[in-house]
Point group: C2
Chain length 211, copies 2
């Protein structure tokens, strides 16, 4: 049987329907694994038939492609938005901060993205875009080193990986009830760029090293 939703609704609000389908699919992929989830499972969760589901999307791979693209689009939009800042350190800090907000807001999409291992063309494309984004972050670290605002004794690519290790860890533990995303974004930036030590102990240790 088909046609659980009135056709005018489906035609009238295609965006809404596709969002609902995508969100349901992504939650299932994350909970059961992409390979273990069928289009029938997705249809069942939505309370629609498989044939209705195929009115919205061409198949499981399209759902995966849409999901990882939305996650990546959020990160690339954040990267585009910081280009107005004059100093590289400001662009870098704003990008890290915005990335935390993107993850908090698109947590299920990014969770799925981070599990992609490159088994298909869609996954290969997602990995290539992730590498491109990592390259943007690494370049910003290098530029900030060149302008003298980031310590030069740290490898830029390693720094970029470690910072995004922190940011990406949100998919493991972040829950909206654990605090406001803006507060979390500020904590990540403070930790990465100023460190957890109080200034007093920083100075003490510097003095100890000089002796």
């Amino acid at each position: 049987m088909d046609g659980e939703r009135p056709p005018q609704r489906r035609r009238g609000r295609p965006g809404h329907d596709q969002d609902a389908v995508l969100n349901a699919a992504v939650r299932l992929f994350n909970a059961r694994g992409y390979d273990a989830t069928s289009m029938f499972d997705v249809a069942e969760t939505l309370g629609i038939t498989k044939s209705t589901l195929y009115h919205h999307v061409s198949g499981k791979e399209q759902l995966l492609a849409m999901a990882v693209d939305r996650a990546l689009d959020g990160l690339f939009e954040a990267a585009a938005q910081v280009s107005g800042e004059k100093r590289a350190i400001d662009r870098l800090e704003r990008l890290i901060s915005s990335s935390v907000l993107v993850l908090a807001e698109r947590l299920e999409l990014v969770t799925l993205l981070l599990r992609v291992r490159g088994n298909t063309e869609v996954e290969q494309h997602a990995l290539a875009r992730r590498r491109e984004f990592d390259g943007i972050v690494t370049d910003l670290v290098k530029q900030a080193q060149a302008e003298g605002s980031i310590r030069s004794d740290v490898d830029a690519a390693t720094a970029a990986r470690l910072i995004f290790g922190m940011v990406n860890s949100l998919v493991e533990w972040y829950r909206p009830e654990r605090g406001h995303p803006e507060t979390l974004a500020r904590t990540v930036v403070e930790l990465a760029f100023r460190g957890l030590r109080t200034e007093a102990t920083n100075t003490t240790q510097d003095d100890q090293r000089r002796q």
Copy 2:
């Protein structure tokens, strides 16, 4: 057919044989997924029969239990070793540093540990030990805040999660050829406790905030 290895070797070097079995199994679990890997696959990789494999281990779940316990034992040993330091900040920094070394050394074991989702009793036990370890780190952050060496404006549990977000990200990108583990451990500690900014830009921004 059984008995590919001479019995005296199997009896004479049980540790060696069990290590080889465990390492092969963990590599397969990480590459194909635990559920998708059979005892036959493990035996095939080792070039032994399934019945020989069962001389070494009781089954797949024992392999999983041994693997995650070895990963966790490394982290708990690191926690025990820092107890001699007088200041909490020193215990915390040493523990983070040692954890990086444990991850670099037991990368495949920790990779498997971090994928465990609690579907079985073995996995539940591993998750409980992970929470216990997280609790140790959070307590150290709190103690370091109480002694005034860590900023008090950062939530201790969040700080612990972010630091281990960095440390655990090693399973995604660390390769021995990307530099010495000791250097990486130092970078993680420097980033987490002193931050990436040079002192000059730290001061500048502090001044800007005061205006």
